[in-house]
Structure formats: C-alpha cells, structure tokens
C-alpha cells in the first residue's frame, strides 16, 4: 500500500515534540479555563447547545498540538475550526448568523487550502509524517504552489489582510468564555501550522519579503480599523489581527533563511504564548468588568491594565519578550526590506497602544449588566489567566526569551518599549481637541469591514439569479402553447381532402419524374 494512503485510524499518529509542547500547554490551559468560564456564565438551558460545539472544538484545538502526521493535523485543525461556527452563532441574532456564515466560508476555504497543500506535500514526500513533509516540499517543483496554499490557509486563520475582518467577526458575537478560547487559542493554530509545515529557508527572498510586507501591512492597517470599530470585542479582534501580522513577519523570516529560521520560530512561539494568554485575559476581563459595579469594577479595570500593557509591549510584560524575540529574528536578515521592517516594528506598537486605549475606553463606558450567576468563579478564572500572562513568558525554558530577559531592565530597551505607548497616549489626548468631524470617525468600521460588503454582494447576486430564473419560466410556457397551436393548424390543412390528395398526386408525379430520368 502506498504510504501516502491513510490506513484508517492506525495512521493517525499523535506525539509530543519540542515544537508542540508550548502549544499544547497553551491550548490546554486556555480551552480548559475558557470552558469553565463558559460553563459558569452560560444559563443552564443553553449549556448543552453551546457545549455541543465547544467540546469538539476544544478537543481539536488541544490535540492539534500533538498531531504527528498530515491526516491527524488536518483532522484536528478541522475539528477545532468547524464547530467554532456554532459558538459564533450561539446568540442567534442576525448579525451573529451573518458573522457565522462569513466565518464558516473563510474557514472552509482555509481548510481546503490546507488540505490541498497537505496532499501535494504528501505526494512529494511519499510520506505523511509532518517533519518529512516540510522538508520534502522544499525541493519539489510544486513547492511554490504548496507554500502559497499553506500561506493562504494560515493567513485566513490569523486574519491577514484582506481578511482582517475575520477575527473581529469571530469574537464579537461569541459568548465570553468561548470567545476567550477563540481569541487565545484558535488563531494560534495558524502559528503552529507555520512551524509545522512551512519549509524553512528554502524560498526565494522575494517570497519572504512579500510575506513580511503583508504582515507589516496587516499589523498597521488592522490597528487603524480597530481604533475605528464599535465594540470592545471587535477592537480585540482587530488587535489580534494586528498582532498576528507580526507573527506573519516572523514566518516570512523563516521562509528564506536557514540561519534565521530558529530565531523566527522562537519569535512565533513567544508571540503565540504571549498573545494567546493576554488576549484571553482581555476577553475575559471585558466580560468580568461588565458583571461588576462600584469598587470591584474599578479594581477589575485596574487589573485589566496588565494584559493591555502586555499587548502594547510595555517593559516587564510578556509583550516585551515577544517583541524582542521578533526583532532578533528580523535582525538576522539583511537587505532593504528586512531593514525597513526592522525599523518599522516599534511603530506597530503605537497602533497596538491606540487599540488598547480604545478598548479600555469602550470597556469602561460599558454599563454593567446584572446577571444571576455570581461573578466569583469568573473572577477566579480570570485571575488565573492574568497570572499566566504575567509569568509564563518569563519563566518559559527556551532560547527565545534569554535575550529579552537579559536586556529587560536595560533603560534603552525599556525606552524602546515605552515610547510608542506614550505617543499613543499623547495622540489620544490630542484627539480630544480634534474637530468633531474627526472624532465622529470612531465607530465607522463595523466588525468584519470588507468581508461584510463581500457577503452583501453575494446575497444580492443570489437574489438577482433567483428572480431571473423565475421570470424565464413564464415566457417559455406561453411560447410552447403558441407553437402547439400552429402545429395543429398545419396538420389540419395538410389532411384536408383536396390539399392532401393533390399533394399525393404531386408526389406521384415526383416519383415518376425521378424514376424516368
């Protein structure tokens, strides 16, 4: 039997390796906390329905880190992504359903691209084992196609432009617990796919540059979109997209240079851990704040500052470490594009900071909702995540945080980490005095941006098609009746005696004339 064939369940290999470990821990932690949170905050009647989706999604979301071959990876990838649709549409509002439809569409496309890439890689490698796949595709004539497919799939997963609306859409309407899992863990599977599948150091430089440029563009543009959007969740979504843009930069780095690849991988892991935990904390925190009033609310808002600062990359936060690792990776490359990217990297933090300011503002403005369930359990769970945000990245035994820890307290690096935030705050202050027309810009971007327009266009086209086919049916019936009528009349005159018998005699004459030629 050809090795590329899946021999049923027997060939689904699961193993824990160095790459998978951080992700396994991250995913397991986030899905568990989020699950508990969701359980605690969902009314009893709705739990079954929510967890019908949540459990498979979590199962896939955690085991994906263990997947050892193409099939099991694809299985877990799909298992996590598809049921998540049910989480997004859980509330059942029209907006949520539309968001779900868009999510499902993009997920399905992403899945398809991933499967295609996996198939090509498996054929080229004549194997299904993940390590072999990435290696074999590097030398294959189908390399470019496979990598393009992989990048498309990953790009969709992490909300790269032009699908930057993907993540905001998937967070906005999802119940908090589930949203936390999606925000923290789901997109990081894209990061895992980068590590597992992208061939290291074999692509031409142009590829790397394009990917890096795309990543940077996403980082900036998503930030702008996010500051102009409407709800705290949406802001978080755009923030994720922006941050994931940075991960894409790291992926770009790994594509072209063998030397820089380990650094890039480190950056990817660092970013995944940092961002996964922080984003989860933000989503949960937003929800916790909305459940509290008075001083508890103030305290919670204060605690919310921790992940906010982490995302901005303030000194001593997890973001600081992650950015450091990314800078190191980019620095390892030489050339105009990497250098430009390197120079621009700190500036992305301005965007993040602006996003966080906007998030903070929106969260604070939110009126408290009264819920029946006690917020004690949510608070406890949130605290756990906060603790993880504060600690994990620092204590993680790996190469990527060594450099950052070394320079964590150096003033220069502190300054580097601080100034973008300060600029953002300054801008924020300045904005208060800005003309009203500029202020009104905030809130003009609905979560999902161009994707919503696309969806509306598809719906309109569908309606137009349906209308057309209906009107065509009516005219066809009339025409048929007319033809039948004239055919009957033709036969009536053809069988009338004189005409018919004359016709016959003429036929006689024809035959005689022909026969006696």
């Amino acid at each position: 039997m050809t090795p590329v064939l899946p021999a049923g369940i027997g060939s689904l290999t699961f193993s824990l390796d160095e790459t998978g470990t951080p992700f396994l821990i991250l995913f397991a932690f986030l899905w568990t906390i989020s699950g508990l949170y969701a359980f605690a905050t969902t009314p009893a009647g709705e739990r079954a329905r929510l967890f019908a989706y949540f459990v498979p999604s979590a199962l896939g979301g955690v085991t994906v880190a263990l997947a050892g071959d193409a099939i099991s990876f694809y299985l877990c990838f799909a298992l996590m992504a598809i049921p998540a649709w049910g989480l997004i549409t859980h509330v059942g509002t029209p907006e949520a359903r539309r968001a779900g439809a868009i999510y499902l569409t993009l997920t399905a496309i992403g899945e398809a691209a991933l499967l295609a890439a996996l198939v090509i890689m498996a054929v080229e490698a004549d194997s299904l084992a993940l390590p072999v796949l990435a290696e074999a595709i590097g030398t294959s004539p189908l390399r470019d196609i496979a990598v393009a497919l992989l990048l498309a799939s990953i790009g969709l997963k992490i909300g790269t432009l032009p699908a930057s609306g993907f993540l905001p859409l998937s967070y906005t309407y999802t119940p908090a617990g589930a949203a936390s899992a999606l925000a923290g863990a789901s997109a990081k599977v894209g990061a895992l796919a980068m590590l597992r599948l992208l061939p290291a150091g074999v692509m031409p430089e142009e590829w790397a540059y394009v990917v890096m440029a795309l990543g940077m563009a996403t980082a900036f543009l998503a930030a702008i979109l996010g500051t102009l959007t409407t709800t705290p969740r949406a802001v978080l979504g755009y923030s994720s997209a922006s941050q994931m843009g940075l991960i894409l930069v790291a992926a770009g780095v790994s594509l072209t240079s063998v030397e820089a690849a380990p650094l890039a991988y480190g950056a990817i892991v660092a970013f995944s851990l940092h961002h996964g935990l922080a984003k989860s904390a933000l989503v949960l925190g937003d929800d916790v704040v909305s459940r509290l009033t008075g001083s508890a609310r103030t305290a919670a808002l204060a605690a919310l500052a921790l992940p906010v600062l982490a995302l901005v990359g303030a000194p001593l936060t997890s973001g600081f470490v992650a950015k450091y690792a990314l800078k190191d990776a980019v620095h390892a490359l030489h050339g105009t594009v990497p250098e430009a990217v390197y120079a621009l990297l700190p500036w992305t933090a301005i965007g993040t900071a602006a996003l966080m300011l906007r998030f903070f503002a929106l969260t604070r403005e939110r009126t408290a909702e009264t819920r029946v369930s006690s917020p004690r359990i949510p608070i406890a769970l949130w605290s756990l995540v906060l603790a993880a945000v504060a600690l994990v990245v620092w204590i993680w035994p790996a190469q990527w945080n060594v450099h950052a820890i070394e320079s964590a307290l150096s003033p220069s690096s502190m300054w580097t980490a601080l100034w973008p935030g300060l600029i953002a705050i300054a801008g924020w202050m300045a904005l208060r005095y800005a003309p009203r027309s500029a202020q009104r810009l905030t809130g003009i971007v609905p979560p999902g941006d161009v994707l919503l327009g696309l969806a509306a266009a598809v719906t309109a086209a569908d309606r137009w098609l349906a209308g057309r086919s209906r009107s065509r049916g009516v005219t066809a019936r009339d025409e048929r009746a007319d033809i039948g009528h004239s055919l009957r009349a033709a036969e009536r005159s053809a069988v009338a005696w004189t005409a018919a018998s004359t016709l016959f005699v003429l036929l006689v004459l024809l035959l005689v004339a022909l026969g006696t030629r």
Partner: protein, 106 residues
C-alpha cells in the same frame, strides 16, 4: 394513328379527368363517379395497349384483368355509394369539408 392509341388516349384522358374530379369536386357522389372515370380510363388503356399485335389477336391477359377490375370497381362503387348515403343520413352533409349540402344539381 393506330387504333390502339385512340383507345389508349381516350383512357388517359378519362383517367386524368377522373383524377381532377376525385381531387377537386367536393360532392361525394361526384367523387364516386370520378373514381369510376379513373377505373374506366385504366380499363381502356389496358384493352388498348393489349391490342397491339393484330396478327396474334388481342392479348387475353389484359382482358381478364379488365374483367376482374370491373367486378372490383363495381364492388367499390357499391360500397362507396352505401357509405356516402349513410354519411348523408348521419350528418346531412354531402361533402367532407363541413360545407352545407349544395343539392343534387351540383
């Protein structure tokens, strides 16, 4: 002109006349008569053309054919008249075109 051709020419003419009548005259009795014209025409042709060898006498085969033909035509005519009559009593029509009957003098 040979004698046989006179008979034959008469036969052909009768036949053509009968053809026109059968085709174009609407009255059913006219049609029956026209068909008899055609039959007589053919019989004349048969007899005429069977008489082309004076030395050996007329060919008996066409004569037999004509005798048979006459009987057959009689039978057909009888049937035709019977049907026309029955059709007339059933519908009051003397033609196949749904025109009102024109009367016997047509």
């Amino acid at each position: 002109m040979s004698t046989y051709l006179v008979y034959t020419a008469g036969g052909v003419l009768l036949y053509a006349l009968g053809t026109y009548g059968l085709l174009a005259r609407p009255h059913l009795i006219h049609k029956v008569i026209s068909a008899n014209f055609m039959g007589s025409g053919v019989f004349l042709i048969l007899i005429g053309l069977g008489n082309r060898s004076p030395e050996s006498g007329p060919d008996p085969v066409p004569q037999a054919m004509v005798l048979t033909g006459i009987v057959v035509t009689v039978a057909l005519t009888a049937l035709g008249l019977a049907i026309v009559k029955r059709y007339y009593t059933a519908t009051g029509l003397d033609n196949l075109d749904d025109k009102p009957s024109a009367g016997g003098d047509r």
